[in-house]
Amino acid sequence: MRLPRLLRTTSFRLAALFALIFGISTIVVGSFVYINVKAALDRQERTRIQSDALALKGEFDSGGMPDLMDAIKERERNKLAGGLDYSLFTAKGGRIVGRLPTPRMRAGWRHVNGPPDGDEPPGELEHLLVYSINLSPNLWLSVGDDIGLLRRLDNTFLQMFVIGLVLAITLAVGGGIVVSAGFLRRIDAITRTAEAIIEGDIGKRIVRNGSGDDLDRLAASLNRMLDRIGLLMDALRNVSTDVAHDLRTPLGHLRQQLENARGHARSTGEYAQAVDSAIAKTDSILETFSAILRIAQIESGSRKAGFRRINLSEIVASLVQSYSPTAEEQRRPLSASIAPDVSIDGDRELIIQLVVNLLDNAMRHTPPGTPITVNLAETPDTIALEVADKGPGVPEAERERILERFYRCETSRSTPGSGLGLSLVSAVSGLHRATIHVMDNMPGLKFRIEFLRTNNQGAA
């Protein structure tokens, strides 16, 4: 059961592939060496036989038959030291001396099988290589040597070669299996962790071996990913809990109000009043839903497709202008310092809402008469939009939290609102890759939104 899986692992397949390549290259190299060595040995043997035959021809040419016979006899005596076989024949095929078969009166090379002479394996004939030469019109010389040894060397070489090849491939495949088993064990560990997480053990993490190899690094990345998912899940859980909590309260009030009207209202006027108030409450609940969905949509990033060059200076100036009458009415000095022709790539509608939410926030959470300042400045690196008030401010510990969904400071709980206005500011900033800083305005609260400057500056 385990083996087929093992055979399917990547490392085993790699090992098998290497074994195959290794086998093929060994065969190629081996064949090359074999062919060349065989050719060299053959050449050497032929040179030995041929030069000896030519030497004997020299003896015959200079000293005639007697010298030739002497030379042959001399060589026969030394045969034990690796000597050759010599035979002389008449042109008619009559044997004068030697035991080699008749040359059939043709010069050149022949392979001849002769009777065994004792040094060959049982049942095999002696194998001879013979060179024949014509000494005079009536005299032929044949020189031959037993090359059975050479042939047997061939066979041994081939046998060793095949055994070596089989051994190498076996080792490669075996090594592949061992390595794959180790690999599989680690993959199994990762799979088991994944299964455990699927089953619900969210806190489970892959055990690392600390070696820093690719699997270990993969495990580290997966663990980091799981941590991140865990954080996101927690955030999501918090949000849904917050949504439920935040909507329960107004829905509860709504219900109380309706029940109260049902039980105590005495006139149509009182009923109408109860219904109006119920509609207003429902509207505020719907508004909260709308804000949640809007934030979700902004955070999904789909609005990025509609980004175009927008003139931030004009937008901010126009919004300040729209807010001044109301600020004046509330005796709030609203002052603005806006650098001209500052533009960014963005979504006009969302940027308007960002500025409006910051202005709304400053107007709603500070007592009447509190000064509000709006600042838009451009530096070589950033574009900074600041909305600041001189109100009571927010304690440092709470400053970052006011951007969270549904977060409302103790001091602002009595003010109506969904607690989502600044979350939307944060979402819009995120979409525009702007960073948002919540700062102390000494006294009061200052929001600073820093946009990155994009390349084509100046175009409105």
């Binding site: 709308s290 949509q297 308007i352």
Partner: protein, 228 residues
Amino acid sequence: MKLLLVEDDAETAAFALRGFRERGYTLDHAKNGRDGLYLAMESTYDIIIVDRMLPGMDGLSMVKALRSAGVVTPVLFLTTMSGIDDRVEGLDAGGDDYLIKPYAFSELAARVNALARRPPASKESTVLRVGDLEMNLLKRVVTRGGETIDLQPREFQLLEYLMRRADQIVTRTMLLEGVWDFHFDPKTNIVETHISRLRSKINLGRENDLIHTVRGSGYCLRAPATAS
């Protein structure tokens, strides 16, 4: 006025049908895009109200088909509150206005009236007149009874919007969209403040109030003669 409502949600449809019938409008109702398209091609309507999410053929495709067939009847889209991109898509498809669900009936009625009475773009005049109030769009000057009234740019824009829709109810949301380009509801009452400023500038030293507040609905700019 004859309206066509294309809406699949029975409760929402009943709510709109009842409201319009009380006001004496003739109203046809289609439950899906295909029927809506058929009705819209078959007879003439003053306004078509289309829900964007419909079973089968959706509202967007229905209006596209209608426009390509040469029907120019004004279309008001009803969209869900989540869709911030819906408005642009709806207007691109040939819609004339949009309203986010759920809506107050007074809002729907005001928008339907505004669409029905919208003057053709070619007949744009350079001078608007309501009673003794006069606005010269080229010179950007407003006079009442011959006396020049000094207005801030935003106030001028607001008054222009109201004068173009004289005798109609204009809701707060319509003003936010048309004058401020806000497609959401700000927490600060900038509309009320601007209206009250404009009103005091226009009415200064005069008896007749031209800008009327319609309780629960919005505002209406009306000449005194037609008011009585």
